[in-house]
């Protein structure tokens, strides 16, 4: 570590500091800044030339006096200490303790940027995770090692749903539960407290590491939060053999912080002012999930993305959807009807579902039941549209059956209690209650054997 301090800061704005006459500074190095009141700030070198060095300051550049700002280059990247002691602790966005307890002491320190997993080292995710939520387990199953975001909107119950998943998620055939890495970026005090209390009351707190950056913390720090959290997750999963569930909330705040810094740097903007590298930047985060050959642990990622103005084509949810393996979409309409969790089935998707369900994992009829429910629901939504034009009285008997199906599907299949933990078998049986509203031959996506076995009229 170099002891030399530079007092050559030339400009400070928008979280970026330019220091001159500091030669040979490594790109990506960690920086320690002492301001005129003696307070310490952390930074990272994001551009390095012989005569000027650009530093991104995690605590922001407000209230700096350039004349009396001392900058020290630490000659190392931003790292965090790792040990099993992480569990049960609360940290800020760059990994400093936030719970008043001493810092983690460990010989293991790792760069928060990690490095790309070799695609040849990956193992394809295949194990079904039961979340106890029918709309997810039955129709958009989560698989261990998957990255499946929750697309939500302001005022929708994504926090409650996330907390419920954390409480209930487990593997069907194993006792081991998940260790949780919880990363909050720009969330409100009340949201952060909600999670803390929920983890405490359900007794999982000792199995959770929290990295919290609140809405009034500096935005630049948000850029480090997911990286710090995933570095901890990688350690727990691949060094400590744990199955780790990582919650990132809210990626929209993260992307906005990225835009803020990019704009200050003068990067060329692309859509809606976000930098062209938003995709690659988010991919560096999301792709740290998964499974690795010959390693027991895994990282399953559940990012929360709130869609600005409920717009799924907004760059943040849009680019997220291109990287993640599906998405769970919450609907304001269902929420307004009092349905919890308000999961909108049509745009929701789990790409890895096909490899985690079926005879060996859940039940043999699961894939075709899911496909059939989707098809019927799509048809039912069309009928609903029609009914809103011509009136329900004008519909044929067959069409009215679809309406009734949609109604029951929303209420009893998608809708469930916040404490209701349904097993996958319960979910599938519930599905057959709904499917049995239709005659057997209408179920074209299900094999005759399964129909004979599960259709209610076939059970006599």
């Amino acid at each position: 570590m170099s002891a030399k301090e530079y007092r050559t800061a030339r400009s400070a704005r928008g979280g970026l500091l330019v220091v001159e006459k500091a030669p040979g500074i490594a790109f990506g190095d960690r920086v320690l800044i002492r301001d005129h009141r003696g307070r310490k700030r952390n930074g990272l070198v994001i551009r390095s030339a012989g005569n000027s060095t650009l530093i991104q300051v995690y605590e922001g550049t407000d209230d700096l006096d350039l004349e009396s700002t001392w900058v020290r280059f630490l000659d190392q990247p931003l790292e965090i200490s790792l040990s099993p002691e992480l569990l049960g602790r609360i940290f800020n966005g760059i990994g400093d303790a936030r719970d008043g307890r001493p810092p983690i002491v460990s010989s293991i320190r790792r760069n928060i940027n990690g490095s790309a997993i070799n695609p040849a080292a990956r193992t394809y995710p295949r194990k079904f995770i039961q979340t106890g939520i029918s709309a997810i387990d039955g129709l958009n199953s989560l698989v261990r090692g998957q990255k499946l975001p929750l697309f939500s909107g302001s005022g929708l119950p994504h926090n409650r749903l996330t907390a419920q998943i954390v409480r209930q998620a487990r593997l069907v055939d194993e006792e081991s539960s998940f260790s949780i890495v919880f990363a909050a970026m720009g969330v409100s005090h009340s949201d952060a407290r909600f999670f803390e209390e929920d983890f405490a009351s359900s007794g999982v707190l000792g199995n959770v590491v929290m990295f919290i950056n609140l809405a009034d913390d500096p935005p630049v720090e948000r850029l480090a939060v997911p990286r710090v959290a995933l570095t901890a997750a990688e350690y727990l999963a691949f060094d400590q053999d744990r199955h780790v569930l990582v919650i990132l909330t809210d990626m929209t705040n993260y992307a906005e912080a990225l835009r803020e810094v990019a704009t200050a740097k003068g990067d060329v903007p692309s859509r809606k002012g976000y930098p062209g590298y938003l995709y690659s930047d988010m991919a560096e985060i999301y792709e740290r999930s998964g499974r690795i050959r010959d390693r027991h642990g895994s990282i399953t990622l559940l990012p929360v993305v709130s869609m600005p103005s409920d717009d799924i084509t907004h760059p943040i949810p849009d680019l997220t959807g291109y990287i993640t393996e599906g998405q769970i979409v919450l609907s304001r309409e269902l929420h307004n009807q009092g349905i919890y969790p308000p999961v909108h089935i049509s745009p929701s998707l789990s790409r890895l579902m096909k490899d985690g369900i079926g005879r060996d994992d859940t039940r043999s009829d699961h894939p075709s039941v899911a496909s059939q429910l989707y098809a019927l629901y799509a048809r039912a939504l069309e009928t609903r549209n029609l009914a809103s034009i011509v009136g329900a009285d004008e519909l044929s008997g067959q069409d009215r059956r679809y309406l009734e199906f949609a109604e029951k599907f929303d209420r009893y299949f998608v809708g469930q209690g916040e404490d209701e933990d349904r097993s996958i078998i319960e979910t599938l049986n519930l599905a057959w209650d709904l499917l049995s509203m239709f005659p057997k031959q209408a179920l074209t996506r299900i094999s005759e054997t399964d129909i004979a076995k599960y259709h209610h009229s076939g059970k006599d």
Partner: protein, 599 residues
């Protein structure tokens, strides 16, 4: 290259873009950067400085560190041992990197793409004798690369002259000399089992050839409705979740190409893991051999360095052209060209170039066109026929097909499989939208179908598409005023379209029988649906109420036929068709009786 030893220093680091001062460096030349020895490519020369794009993360690199010229442009190794492998965007072997360095990709690794230790059994071509005059690209001999692929050892494209000697049949390693040739320069050059080629230069060939056969993919909506030819170029645009990757994987699995090159460009790591785990176990329906024997992967996943993403497409194309030059039909799948274009955008942004549309540089359209232009069927330098078929996915932001990459791509390609969010939401897969997709190869494909499968292919295809377009029209009416407004004949048209949609177009990649459909099966299925529609329409004309026909159990049975009978059981499909005709006949007779009686 006497300036090869020239060394210089780093001046500035801005992410993957590094400015260096290195006298004599050429534009496009490879350079080694800093103490870690990261490799990059000089992309611009400005006065004494050169701008380098680096294929790896530049974290920890400092101004003042040394740089070194390597003396050659970005090139790949071409020789036996490529098939079955997985390479990164600059052709480093990822499996070997995993064995050497573990789970993550370290920086500054230098490993040759091809295994130097492996022994290959070389059989020289009989016509290559000492003293014979060889033209560039001549076939010197062959080795068996995999059970199904005979790898022809080619004279490098820029070499020709008198063969001085050629090794006898026997076992050789890649670096072993297998012969010598006296070139046009009068000097003697050693020949090996492999050679190098710069990826940004298309490999030469004698002439372009007209493509004459469709690429059979076993996917009904592709083969029957929007065919692609061997040597053609296709694009698959679609919003996320519409199934681009599944379409690509299905083509990689089932198409009747000799070689499949899959370039995962800025996409998910798990998708490559999926291919690596499943392909070795999957058998090719045509040869019964493992699919991995004809497949090779280039992987630059979305979290890998963005500059290597730009290179990955060229690396894949060069390997594709190399197998084309051996006389093979190669399919290259690029997933996704949007990520490639974004890599261009990122580099151009960092260079401060003026953006035109959505931040993309002005040269986006010309670069895209140049990439797709490397597809085609050619007469190779040695007189064989080979082809490269290029299929690129496009990931339009927000599913907006008017964005620059989709719009420019659409102008270049001839076959367009547009994926629709609405179809995917209704779980209609493959979600290829029959309204906005197109194929410019109907004429060529028709000749093949008429000769090999059946004379009515073009006619039936047109009939089915007409019915589908009627369906779209009538559905709009239904949505406005309800189904009661339609006549019986019109409602039967809706039913006919549903038969085509569910019985032919929808195809499950997961169902072991349905996942692949031979041309014969495709032909018969379409025939069956159209027969049912036609017979029903005839009955409605006679006065049979449409409701009665809609409740016929045969409709559901016909929709299931695709899953009941595999590609070999064509006679079952013919039987079923006869059965249905008979059923209609029974309805007709019954109805005639009923009418008689009624009178």
């Amino acid at each position: 290259m006497n300036e090869n030893t020239g060394r210089g220093i780093i001046r500035e680091i801005n992410g993957p873009i590094v400015t260096i001062r290195l006298p004599g460096v050429r534009s496009g030349e490879q350079v080694r950067i800093g103490e870690m020895g990261l490799v990059g490519e000089a992309i611009a020369l400005i006065g004494e400085d050169a701008v380098v794009q680096v294929y790896e993360s530049t974290e920890g690199v400092r101004p003042g560190e040394p740089v070194e010229r390597l003396g050659w442009p970005l090139s790949v190794e071409l020789g036996p041992g490529l098939l079955g492998g997985i390479f990164d965007g600059v052709q480093r072997p990822l499996e070997e990197i995993y064995l050497n360095s573990g789970d993550h990709i370290p920086r500054g690794v230098v490993l040759p793409a091809l295994n130097r230790e492996k022994i290959w059994h070389f059989v020289p071509s009989p016509e290559c004798t000492s003293g014979s005059e060889l033209a560039a690209g001549a076939v010197l001999g062959s080795v068996r690369e995999t059970e199904r692929i005979e790898h022809r050892i080619l004279l490098p494209p820029e070499r020709h002259g008198t063969l001085l000697e050629l090794a006898p049949e026997g076992d050789y390693r890649l670096e072993d000399p297998i012969g010598r040739i006296r070139g046009a320069d009068g000097r003697s050059h050693k020949l090996k089992l492999y050679h190098r080629w710069p990826v940004r230069n298309p490999r030469p060939y004698r002439r372009r050839d007209n493509s004459i056969v469709p690429l059979i993919t076993g996917q009904r909506i592709i083969d029957t409705f929007f065919p692609l030819i061997k040597g053609g170029k296709a694009a698959v645009p679609g919003p996320f979740g519409a199934g681009k990757t599944v379409v690509q994987h299905q083509i990689a699995r089932w198409s009747n190409a000799d070689i499949v090159i899959f370039v995962g460009c800025g996409e998910r790591g798990n998708e490559l893991a999926d291919v690596l785990e499943t392909f070795p176990q999957l058998l090719d329906p045509l040869t019964g051999r493992s699919l991995m024997e004809r497949t090779l992967l280039v992987a630059n996943t979305s979290n890998m360095p963005v500059v290597a993403r730009e290179a990955s497409i060229y690396v894949g194309l060069t390997m594709a052209e190399y197998y084309r030059d051996q006389g093979y039909d190669v399919v290259m799948l690029a997933d996704s060209t949007s990520r490639w274009a974004e890599a261009l955008r990122e580099v151009s942004g960092r260079l401060g170039q003026m953006p035109v549309e959505d931040g993309y540089p002005a040269y986006l359209a010309s670069r895209l066109a140049a990439v797709y232009e490397r597809a085609g069927r050619v007469e190779t330098q040695s007189g064989d026929k080979g082809s490269v078929t290029l299929i690129g996915t496009v990931s339009p932001p927000g599913g907006d097909f008017s964005e620059p990459v989709t719009a420019h791509t659409k102008e270049i390609i001839q076959t367009y499989w547009a994926l629709s969010k609405e179809l995917a939401d209704a779980r209609h897969y493959p979600a290829i939208d029959w309204v906005s997709s197109f194929s410019g190869h109907i004429g060529v494909a028709a000749e093949w179908w008429h000769e090999k499968v059946g004379k009515k292919w073009e006619q039936r295809r047109a009939k089915a598409l007409a019915l589908l377009s009627r369906d779209a029209e009538l559905s709009r009416i239904v949505n406005l005023v309800g189904p009661e407004a339609l006549s019986g004949a019109q409602r039967w048209e809706l039913e006919g379209a549903a038969l085509i949609k569910e019985g032919v177009l929808q195809q499950s990649a997961l169902d072991p029988i349905d996942t692949f459909s031979s041309p014969e099966k495709q032909y018969l299925l379409l025939k069956m649906m159209l027969t049912i529609y036609q017979k029903g329409a005839d009955l409605i004309e006679l006065g049979v109420p449409v409701q009665e026909l809609r409740e016929l159990p045969m409709l559901d049975k016909a929709k299931r036929a695709k899953q009941l009978f595999n590609s070999e059981q064509t006679e079952k499909l013919i039987e079923l068709n006869e059965e249905f005709i008979q059923e209609f006949e029974d309805v007709r007779i019954e109805y005639a009786k009923f009418k008689e009686h009624g009178k």
